[in-house]
Amino acid sequence: MDAETGAVAIVPEPPPAPVRAAEPQGGGAHRRRAGRLVARYVLLTFGAVVVLLPLYLTVVNSLLPTTQLTRRPPPFFPAHPQWRTYATAWDQGHLGIYLRNSAIQTVIIVLGQLVTSILAGYAFAFLRFPLRRVLFVVFLATLMVPFEVTIVTNLDTITTFGWYNSFAGLTVPFLATGFGTFLLRQAFLQIPRDLQEAAALDGYGHWRFLTRIAVPLARPSLAALGVFSFLAAWNQYLWPLLVTGDNNHIRTVQLGLKLLRSTNLQSISVSLAGTVIAVAPLLVLLVVFQKQLVRSLTAGAVK
């Protein structure tokens, strides 16, 4: 029985990769490759500067005293960083409560989207029911409708339900998403049907198969969906503005920043400090889930 295991052990080391001989015309090819590499790095550096410079300037400016903010050209390094601006922003802007509200709203939306996408994605991938294809196309079609188109109707519905100025109003319209359903359906379709049948023979129904097999196997897609919905929920501005009225107990951090700016017109660095505070959770998330995010961007590109 262990014949193969043994065979694996005695398999000789693969011969070392042949050393590339110095070909007479190799110099040219080498230079071309090096040139391409340099060009690639120049391009990437340019892209990185375009993306990161505004972030960097935001951080720098948030640390500058008001007097230096108006200097032309603006200083590139804060000579005497004013850390107080952060404390001011936190206190004056009530950022603690706004961040908490944003966190609650975001967690509800992310969890809601994960749950509904898992259930709907599983149904489209594994269950047979009438009009399955038609319904899936309808789901996909919702991706083509911008949120702004439905905003008035949604607001009307929320108000009718008495959810104006509440977390329910803030989150319920976003608990299900066509994109998430599509992403997870594709992930579930990758799972061989044999696995489901094997599980069925072993006594696992749909629910247990979903929780024990399908969801663990779709983890990369789940993480990607989680990151996407987190970003979208955290950065929401228009909808919270419409449904929160003047209730500070549910206003989100994006609204808080706007208020901070209007109350602190004389101190731009304080509002910038507030912005940095509001962005910090996203940066942490992006660093932690970078791999999943990249993977999800290519999801569906190749089977």
């Binding site: 262990d2 014949a3 193969e4 061989p192 696995l195 049948e197 069925a200 006594g203 247990r208």
Partner: protein, 386 residues
């Protein structure tokens, strides 16, 4: 352990009849092989037993229970899939114990069963690995371990060896046979590989287009195929089939009692005079006697079947042929010949016999005691073979 009975079991996919009124009984402890070409319905039969496909008509009985409406999990069967269907995120140990968890077999009992199943398939060292870290053969054994761990009523195996390389396939084939013998569990085994079927099955059920052609032990299937399909499908290469017609015996082919057969005719089996006929085929004549002759008379047109090992290149042979290709297989040689009417036949002979060259004109002698006669229209067997 249990018997499995198919009583008129039928499966349709739309207008396509995948399994047509299957009547089959698998005995308790038997290893029955379902054999047939791709698309013949053999996997569908297996999936109907498993409950993964509904039975449209007829019944399937496992033990004493009609299981048509019983959920797969309540049929107490274990299936080994062609793809192995291992759970990629679980270790070997977790994969093997997966069926036990659902059945609430807990603690020490579960650990003991997993350890036993793993040990019996040489997997003890691999219990902590994930399927991706295993070779094809090891994965196959994990799938088997998962099947045996809960001691089901029957095993269903769907081409479990088809993803293995040739050497490993032979080894695993023997392992499965040994395992099945030791456990004595009723097993339905699906394959399209007739060598696998011949070496493993207690009996073989040959399917074609959803219709059961014949069920018999391997040797009987080989020696007495029920029709031309089975005759061709079993054996490597399959039986040579040549269309023939019955004629009254020509007097010149009449051999003197105990004498040498006349040139151009095969030896005539012993039989009373008048019970003989001649078969005209491919430009030659074969004399038949005895029961074969009686049966041959009943059919207007025939197909004559002869296994490659019952043909020989012989200057005194009855049939003329041209050698098309000579294939050396080590211990034996297969000579593909075209008969005078163009029908291709294969002659199997020992590697020590003189080998003809391609293009050479030869004569083929037929062991007329080993002839199989089939009705040309229905393909159904008429006469006994060897």
């Amino acid at each position: 352990m249990a018997q499995v009975h198919f009583r008129g079991a039928t499966k349709r996919y739309g207008a396509v009849l995948a399994v047509d009124r299957l009547e089959l009984a698998v005995a308790d402890g038997e290893l029955l092989v379902l054999l047939g070409p791709s698309g013949c319905g053999k996997t569908t039969v297996l999936r109907m037993v498993a409950g993964l496909e509904e039975v449209d008509e007829g019944t399937i009985v496992i033990g004493d229970d009609v299981v048509n409406d019983v959920a797969p999990k309540d049929r107490d069967l274990a299936m080994v899939f062609q793809s192995y269907a291992l759970y990629p995120h679980l270790t070997v140990a977790k994969n093997i114990e997966f069926p036990l968890r659902q059945r609430r077999i807990e603690g020490e009992d579960r650990r003991r069963r997993v350890a036993e199943a793993a040990a019996s398939l040489g997997l003890t060292e691999l219990l902590g690995r994930k399927p991706a870290q295993l070779s094809g053969g090891q994965r196959q054994r994990v799938a088997l371990a998962r099947a045996i761990v809960r001691d089901p009523k029957a095993f269903l195996m769907d081409e479990p060896l088809s993803n293995l390389d040739a050497a490993l396939r032979v080894q695993t084939r023997a392992d499965i046979v040994a395992l099945q013998q030791r456990l004595g569990t009723t097993t339905l085994y699906v394959t399209h590989d007739q060598v696998e079927a011949m070496t493993m099955g207690h009996r073989i059920a040959v399917l074609r287009d959803g219709v059961l052609q014949q069920v018999a032990p391997p040797q009987e299937l080989y020696d007495r195929p029920a029709n031309t399909f089975v005759a061709r499908f079993l054996g490597s290469p399959g039986m040579n089939l040549v269309p023939a017609s019955v004629t009254e015996p020509a007097s010149v082919t009449e051999p003197a009692p105990g004498g040498v057969p006349a040139p151009g005719a095969a030896p005539v089996p012993v039989g009373p005079p008048g019970d003989r006929v001649d078969l005209a085929l491919a430009g030659g004549r074969l004399a038949l006697g005895g029961e074969a002759a009686l049966l041959a008379r009943k059919a207007s047109s025939l197909v004559v079947g002869v296994r490659p090992e019952h043909l020989a290149i012989d200057p005194a042979g009855a049939l003329g042929a041209r050698v098309v290709i000579v294939e050396l297989l080590g211990a034996e040689v297969q000579v593909v010949c075209a008969l005078d009417d163009g029908t291709q036949v294969v002659v199997r002979q020992g590697a020590d016999r003189p080998r003809p060259a391609a293009g050479e004109l030869v004569r083929l002698a037929v062991d007329s005691g080993a002839l199989h006669l089939f009705d040309a229209e229905s393909g159904v067997r008429l006469a006994v073979g060897p």
